[in-house]
Symmetry: C2
Subunit: 455 residues, 2 copies
């Protein structure tokens, strides 16, 4: 494709996207296609001869777009809502066109350095210790896997060579995200050694139950090595009491990893600094700008107090990748599994600069305010119940009827195409969730969602 054709097609694509942004309700939020429908509409084999870009874009609009669930719609309030903000998209466009790959510092110095600088800015805004090291991964699951691997290598340095260790035990609350179990499973720790700690009536880890579990395991001869505390759980956004958990981690010499994948972004606002109270004593923390920081997927950040432990867990540095080891020329590949590294920092740098800390804080505070306002409205509504506190931007609620009826309500609302909500299960009951996090969602959208649900 010649530069001229790229220019022409690029303008077309930008116009299409601007138009898409201008008409966010043109498509149902939740795709209505049936399983296999997109597949059946596509040829079974790829073409031998090339095709015109116009024809391809035409098929994209005709076949692909109706098969999309529109995460960028203001009516998207499922899971954790997020936004592909304008500056974020522009950052991705440049990253794709430049095609920089940060395998080593020298394979694109600005990629590595901008990642460190931008993650430093965000770290400081979040109130984390200024000495912490930051590194981008694709998802929180991969970030957490790296944290647990570093925890293992601290406890059993020879494990990387031998593949042998005592029965290592990891602790997280019963509300922790499944990525903790997945990481432990992948690393070979074993699901049986992920100890789920009970939570209190607000879905927060019970520190005394944690202490008891660690002491019991020690009595059995197990080797406790890691605690994962969650700041903003996936179901209810509950916040584990890190100030009470951190001393237990210290007492038993356990790695403390904080899963702030969703809520970490809120700590950018001084009003929500308290969220990370105690996190300064942690060993690592994950936060996902692609959750609540208006960043197109994917961008997850792993912060780590002692990056040398990540390096110990993952560095090999074969000869053909050897490079001069200037301390300011960091080779990220030594700190994780992946070798290739996309220029993801660019979009985050654009976003932090374009909006600035105050506007980001204002938007996030607004999301929390609307959620809390809605939570109060639902609590006052006869026949409905709020099923968890609303410390952040997610409201968990249900109608005081059967699970099947609540599920039917959710399905009906989602089928309408205006709003997309998801659900969870709390105390064995089916619960509807409204998750606010898209910057195009207004207070009206939030209350429209409630209007649809309650009707």
């Amino acid at each position: 494709m010649s530069p001229d054709e790229f220019r022409r097609m690029g303008h077309k694509v930008v116009d299409w996207l601007a138009d898409y942004q201008q008409h966010p309700t043109r498509y149902p939020v939740l795709s209505r296609v049936k399983p296999g429908e997109v597949t059946d509409a596509l040829p079974l084999h790829g073409p031998n001869q090339g095709e015109a870009m116009e024809a391809i874009l035409h098929d994209f609009e005709k076949t692909i777009v109706p098969g999309l669930t529109h995460w960028n719609s203001p009516g998207f309030m499922a899971y954790f809502a997020n936004t592909a903000s304008g500056p974020g998209i522009l950052g991705e466009m440049l990253a794709a066109g430049l095609n920089a790959n940060g395998i080593l510092w020298k394979t694109s110095p600005a990629l590595t350095e901008l990642e460190q600088v931008t993650l430093g800015w965000l770290r400081d805004w979040m109130g984390l210790p200024s000495s912490w090291f930051g590194m981008i991964h694709d998802t929180a699951s991969i970030s957490t896997l790296h944290a647990i691997a570093a925890a293992r290598v601290r406890r059993v340095p020879e494990a990387r060579l031998t593949g042998k260790w005592p029965t290592l035990r990891l602790y997280c609350s019963e509300q922790a995200h499944s990525s903790v179990e997945k990481g432990a499973m992948a690393l070979g720790i074993g699901l049986d050694n992920v100890v789920k700690i009970a939570t209190d009536d607000q879905f927060r880890m019970d520190p005394s139950a944690l202490r008891a579990a660690v002491e019991t395991d020690l009595a059995y001869g197990y080797a406790p090595f890691c605690i994962v505390a969650t700041v903003g759980t996936t179901s209810t956004t509950s916040i584990d009491p890190v100030p009470q958990i951190a001393p237990i981690a210290r007492e038993f010499n356990l790695w403390l990893h904080i899963d702030a994948a969703y809520a970490g972004s809120a700590a950018v606002s001084p009003k929500f600094h308290w969220l990370l109270n105690g996190a300064e004593h942690a060993d690592s923390l994950v936060t996902n700008p692609h959750k609540w920081l208006f960043t197109p997927v994917d961008l997850s950040i792993l912060y780590c107090r002692q990056p040398e432990l990540l390096r110990e867990a993952f560095s090999l540095v074969p000869e053909y990748l050897r490079s001069a080891q200037d301390p300011r020329a960091l080779n990220y590949m030594e700190y994780g599994v992946a070798l290739g590294r996309r220029f993801r920092a660019l979009k985050l740098w654009f976003i932090l600069r374009y909006y600035g800390r105050e506007e980001i804080s204002r938007m996030i505070e607004e999301h929390v305010r609307w959620a809390q306002e809605l939570s109060e409205v639902i609590a006052r509504e006869p026949g409905w119940e709020v099923c968890a506190p609303t410390p952040l931007s997610v409201v968990c609620f249900r109608k005081a009827v059967s699970d099947a009826e609540n599920e039917a309500i959710l399905n009906r609302v989602n089928a309408g195409g205006e709003i997309f909500l998801s659900h969870t299960v709390l105390h064995g009951k089916y619960v509807i969730r409204i998750a606010i996090g898209n910057m195009f969602t207004t207070r009206d959208h939030v209350f429209r969602a409630w209007e649809l649900v309650s009707a």
Copy 2:
């Protein structure tokens, strides 16, 4: 950012990229910045107030671009060269703007289905069995980690729960990529249990040495479980004899994973179908379109014969992600560590359609032809030696002088800014590599590189 502002800025960015493509030699290929130079040019703290996008783009051009190594330059012939082709960039632009996330089938059906369809097209072009399952990861390292995890779960199904297994042993050649060791290390197999098999005089795994190693391990009571054969090694693009290795895998019931991260793309051409001879007997294979298929980083594909083993290794499916389990509504998150899933298939679909199989084959065949032609020229040049066969698009050679002098030659060429080459070590000697893989590289660029080196 309003849709109008996005449109205006998007056009600016497209124009900048088209201009960048039009003047590929405007910047030195290898960045000339010193370690810390980009960092020092950036503020220590992020801004409180937002800034204008024009100002940010201005800083991007002034501060970031000089700090980039230009992977998209036709003079980039280091590592494995690749291209951000026009259709690939357009695909990334749309993926960023749509912000689809394929956590579950329903969170964007077209994302999941297009991934399966496109990976099916490529699988068929490569001549792999049509029943194989394909899945995109960010890098080959992560793909290979997943393959090894599936191999483990096949050998020791209870490992995912217990974290206990006999001493598992994995085999790869001494020329295998470091990602094999990294994957084994991360998964808890242990570096000591990665057995490096000797290679022949053409850097290919010696099947009789492989058999001997497996038999010795069995005699010691170890548990062999996996072989990684490489089709296109990183140093020399040597090709392990898969037709001889596959029967050994079958005899000892070992998982056979093929690392075709680089060379897999060449199998798209019928002339290079032979590369994957024997791969039909493998259990899994990794190939990276972001290496030689003109695809912007990142896009690595893991093909797997028995996806149910990936699922066994990684699926948890907690309640809040439960969804109706129609067999045509695949939830990729059950087949790997990551939950979030970017719409990477879009760019690959665009590329396969825009160029078509014949043009892709033609470009790759041309790269190989130039490399082989150059190899013959160097072999005839007094005082120079070709250090490995040239089956594909990489030439390994050195001047018959000291390592230090060869390194000095390489550094001088790279400092010139016109060409960027990398090196490796073969038989303990420093070797220069010329890797052809960028679609904008012409025969003239290749011979210009040799002219600069030989001068």
